[in-house]
Amino acid sequence: MTPNALVVGELHDGHLAASTLEVIGVARALAGGAVAGLVLGAGAKAAASEFGRFGVPEAYALDDPHLDAAPAGARAAPVAATAREVGASLLLTASTTAGRDLLGRLAVAWDAAVATGVTEATAFEGGVRVRRPVFGGRATETIRLEGSRVAIATRPHAFAAVAESPVPCVVHEVPAPVLSEAYTAPQRTGVAVTARGAGPSLTDASIVVSGGRGVRAPENFRLVEELAASLGAAVGASRAVTDAGWRPTSFQVGQTGRAVSPQLYIAVGISGAIQHIVGMVSSRVIVAINSDASAPIFRVADYGIVGDLFQIVPALTAEVRRVRGA
């Protein structure tokens, strides 16, 4: 297939988001034909020209601040219309909350074969073959998306960001959609931007150190934080910890919290309820420190230390500091 591809970008601080740069790379690898970009919302017009820096010669912008505060569904119609206008047979976006919402809508509004959370994609005659982790990373499925309209959402961090290769970029304006009352009635009443701690954020970090019930008291959580600080790691927590209010729910790793897949995950005093496991099992290397040798966490960990975390963790922090010369 020699598809034209449309990349639906996301904006971050008025610029194309890092995840969008990854999507552009995938689009350029897959598309036999032209690649066009599209961004929506306030500041779209200014950001759209950035597509040119990454080798995309044509971009569309729907510069309408109303879209930022409208339900996700309000974007489906203009995106589908743009896809038709550029003659796209392939649409790509990042598998973020907004990206998944968009794809669910486009499966119907653009009548496309769709897949989210994609970590590998190759084109074949008649469609796109994708691989995606399923069952919380316990398995991977390969599926063929067939038909003349295919839309995929790529998992952030799964692909390298495209390198800069500037070309001139023509920006077309997309007319703002006339929203029906169903889409104007909902109101966004507030946006609280998450305050970031000193360390990296849970989802971005290449090392995560999490503490669980075994830490026993909120004041002991500093042991976990000190180890994380020594490693430059993000701090996570099991549900037992966030339920007990020792740390806010934004720290929670697991099914009801955040799914993380860092290079190194260190579980401190976490027994390893399946709830937690599914949120971290796709980490590359897992270390468990727990006093109970029969704790299920040792079944998924690569390395384990059975022992008293109150002795092991400070020793480990000291050793890390010593080795890193800090």
Partner: protein
């Protein structure tokens, strides 16, 4: 041919018990064992989910389950903690004499309000001078008008310090031996009822066990179960009903021991490979698996026999005796599989051995079970 598959209903009952056991009981099991804590909040939740008065018909506020269904639940609970399970099912034992010997009016008057909220009851048969020789019990019941006056002491009574109701076996005339034994329902609030202090036990440390003293306790004749002298038969028929779930309890402990041993054997490395790859350990695990499987099937068969209307004395004695012996054996082998770690309290298997031991002793010591089995057996040849 018998059908060993579970119905969807039985699957969902087992799922409920498993979920409760894992979510509520298992996380507290080690700590309760260590400090000997009676986790009343867990028992209250068990009651709220309908896991407590399993054998009481729904018309009196119980769950109305047959013995097979009870066994499915009990095995799952015991997988998490044998001691907690003993306390959860103690009501079944204590209330069974009322189900078997009570009049419809007594059941309505006693069981309905009892089951309407979280309450514990205790079965008071064993005495300091002997448990297995139930015919020789010494607690006296003297008739006084339309009342009885109870005097005596019971021991090793499960849940006694926390119970609000006791089913008590006493004799109206020790000379009559078995024929003098009579059963009564006694509220904790009756004057002269005094539970003793919680005993320090080897295992089942999440359960509570004490003596109960009865000193001049006045019980109205309307709270007598059956006629005077019918108590011994009532106690034996009660144990025929409740013995099989003890087989399930032992099976649950044995299964837990096997699960721990197998998981550990895959993890623990010696001589460069997991010990599960050494034949010595494989043979151990295979023998343990056979014991667990046989214990479960004997238990299910006994339960099925009783649910089909038979007394099942032989079957339930075989099941209880075999399963409890198997539990001890499997727990022992689990410790051996763990080696030195198995002997450490930081690991879960030594608790299983201590918990398993009681299943050979209570609800009819295995010596009595073998006596019963031999008696039932020899009758066929006599």
């Amino acid at each position: 041919m018998p059908d060993f598959s579970l119905t969807p209903e039985q699957e969902s009952l087992r799922d409920l018990a498993r979920k409760f056991a894992r979510a509520e009981m298992a996380p507290q099991a080690a700590e309760c064992d260590r400090i000997g804590r009676f986790p009343e909040e867990i028992y209250r939740k068990a009651y709220e989910l309908g896991l407590m008065n399993l054998n009481v018909p729904t018309e009196y506020g119980g769950s109305g389950l047959g013995v097979v269904d009870q066994c499915l639940i009990v095995e799952e609970l015991a997988h998490a903690c044998g001691g907690m399970t003993t306390s959860v099912i103690a009501n079944c034992l204590a209330l069974e004499p009322i189900l078997l010997g009570g009049t419809p009016a007594q059941k309505e008057r006693i069981l309905s309000p009892f089951c309407a909220k979280y309450q514990l009851a205790s079965f008071c048969l064993t005495e300091p001078s002997g448990g297995s020789d139930a015919g020789g019990l010494k607690t006296r019941a003297r008739k006084d008008g339309d009342q009885y006056v109870l005097d005596g002491e019971k021991c090793f009574i499960t849940n006694a310090p926390h119970a609000s109701l006791y089913t008590v076996f006493a004799t109206v005339d020790p000379e009559l031996r078995h024929k003098g034994i009579t059963a009564f329902v006694v509220p904790r609030s009756a004057a002269g009822v005094t539970p003793g202090k919680d005993e320090e036990k080897m295992g089942h440390r999440a359960s509570s066990t004490s003596t109960v003293r009865f000193e001049g306790v006045r019980v109205p004749a309307t709270d007598r179960l059956g006629a005077e002298g019918e108590g011994f038969s009532l106690a034996m028929r009660t144990l025929d009903q409740t013995r099989t779930p003890i087989g399930a309890l032992a099976t649950g402990i044995a299964q837990a021991a096997l699960d721990h041993a197998a998981a550990y054997a895959l993890k623990r490395q010696t001589f460069g490979k997991p010990i599960a790859e050494h034949q010595a350990i494989q043979i151990k695990l295979a023998n343990m698996a056979q014991a667990v499987h046989a214990a479960r099937l004997l238990t299910w068969h006994a339960a099925w026999t009783i649910d089909h209307g038979a007394k099942g004395t032989l079957e339930s004695s075989i099941a209880k005796c075999f399963a409890s012996d198997a539990a001890l054996e499997v727990a022992d082998e689990a410790i051996q599989t763990f080696g030195g770690y198995g002997y450490m309290k930081a690991y879960p298997v030594e608790k299983l051995l201590r918990d398993a031991k009681l299943t050979q002793i209570y609800e009819g010591a295995n010596e009595i079970q073998r006596t019963v089995i031999a008696r039932e057996l020899l009758q066929k040849y006599a």
